[in-house]
């Protein structure tokens, strides 16, 4: 096996592992919590895996995996088919996390995540308008967006701790 083939295999393996974590997040995003007459869900949670997608992964495998995660969310969530699939694919192509170099600052990550959530909200509004034939409800979209942005510090620290525990800091992925 040549070095190039080895790298490709490692990159694909990393993409697959990230895809599995993404599938888990998609499942969690379907759960809803009713409290005091209000219903909350983590609809935007899979964006976390898109944002934290490891930089050492294979681009092609990663993009197909992300589109697959979107399709999974569409099918499991019962919403318009292809909406999340198209949305995630576009966002992944635009931000391309496989080659991204971001400074280590937490605040920078948070700001970028807020931008990503805003872009996702805008994109899903447009795609939802096309799919439903009328404007989707903006309020749940806004609330879910704000909720996931507030949750970002927890997601960030979970990822940081998991990297430290698994020793991923010393490996190619996760940089």
């Amino acid at each position: 096996m040549t070095e190039r083939e080895g790298n490709r295999l490692t990159g694909t393996s990393i993409a697959l592992r990230s895809g599995l974590i993404g599938a888990l997040l998609v499942t969690v995003s379907l759960l809803n919590i009713n409290f005091a007459g209000y219903s909350a869900s983590l609809m935007f949670l899979p964006l976390a895996i898109l944002y934290f997608w490891p930089s050492g992964s294979n681009y092609s495998a990663s993009l197909w995996m992300i589109a697959g995660l979107g399709l999974l969310q569409d099918m499991m969530g019962g919403g318009p088919l292809g909406l999340w699939m198209l949305c995630y694919a576009i966002l992944f192509i635009v931000i391309n996390p496989t080659t991204r170099k971001v400074g280590p600052g937490f605040v920078v990550h948070w700001m970028l995540f807020v931008v990503l959530v805003t872009a996702t909200g805008g994109l899903t509004m447009v795609l939802g308008r096309i799919s439903l034939g009328q404007n989707p409800s903006a309020l749940p979209l806004l609330l879910n967006g704000v909720f996931i942005c507030l949750l970002f510090p927890i997601l960030y620290w979970i990822r940081l701790f998991s990297r430290q525990i698994t020793g991923a800091d010393n490996m190619a992925w996760g940089r």
């Binding site: 969690v28 809803n32 499991m76 292809g82 699939m85 198209l86 694919a89």
Partner: protein, 294 residues
Amino acid sequence: MARGVGTHQTRHRGNVIRKTSIAVIIVSLLVFVLGLNGRQPVGAVRAPAEGLASRILTITSMPIRGAENISTSASRHFDLAAQNDKLRTENNRLRQIENQNLSLSEQVNYLEGILNTNINPKQSQRIAARAVSESRGPFVNSALINAGLKKGVREGNAVMSLNGLYGRVVRAGNSSARVLLLTDLNSRVAVMSQRSRSRAILTGNNSRIPSLEFRSAGADWKYGDRIVTSGDGGVLPRGLPVGVARAGDGSLEVALFTDKQPVDWIWVVPHLPVPAPEENLPNPETESSSGETP
């Protein structure tokens, strides 16, 4: 030389990125376009996916439902005495109604016997299930339940919660089904006022309060009217409790009974839709063959 190899690799990588991106976008667009207007191009895949989601969510939602139940019961404990008084009064009132009901049902049975008819056919047995996931998102208001074709759930069946009508089944898999809630943008249910029997269509708008549309000009509607299904169209059974009419922005809205508490257990009401006459024509061949037999 090394720079040449590096440039070649970069160009090759750029090509791969471009081709993959275009391929993924085309596939995604294709799926999106095929799924427009609620079409189900991958219905055969969607039902198993929902079945899998239902199994996983049945387990993962347990702690959440438990926590919800704890918070609900904790809040109820604060006013136990007041609730007790209220229940006692209600109990007395219900006893009187029970007696009235008994005498009324006897009268109805007697009249049915005289007329040789049955105005209220007995409801078939209801199917109990759990709402394992409820999506009240910007695009769809639906729920996933952990009962499907194997238990007798069929597309179009009404779904009840403890308090009233919850929605109707829009897709049934082997072990799970997707329920379109009354609040969904695409939900339309024929309803009537229990007091005046005026008809309307309960129209979902992705908010918690659906509205009453297509009311006749002279129809008799009042705030506080109890809304039940009218059974018009033969899609849903008649008389399922839905909610209470209240004032909206220039129209009538309905405060749903299901909004009173989080929905956990639900009951699917099996109901055979009444077929349109043209769909229920006798088969001429069968008729003629049966006519020929002496």
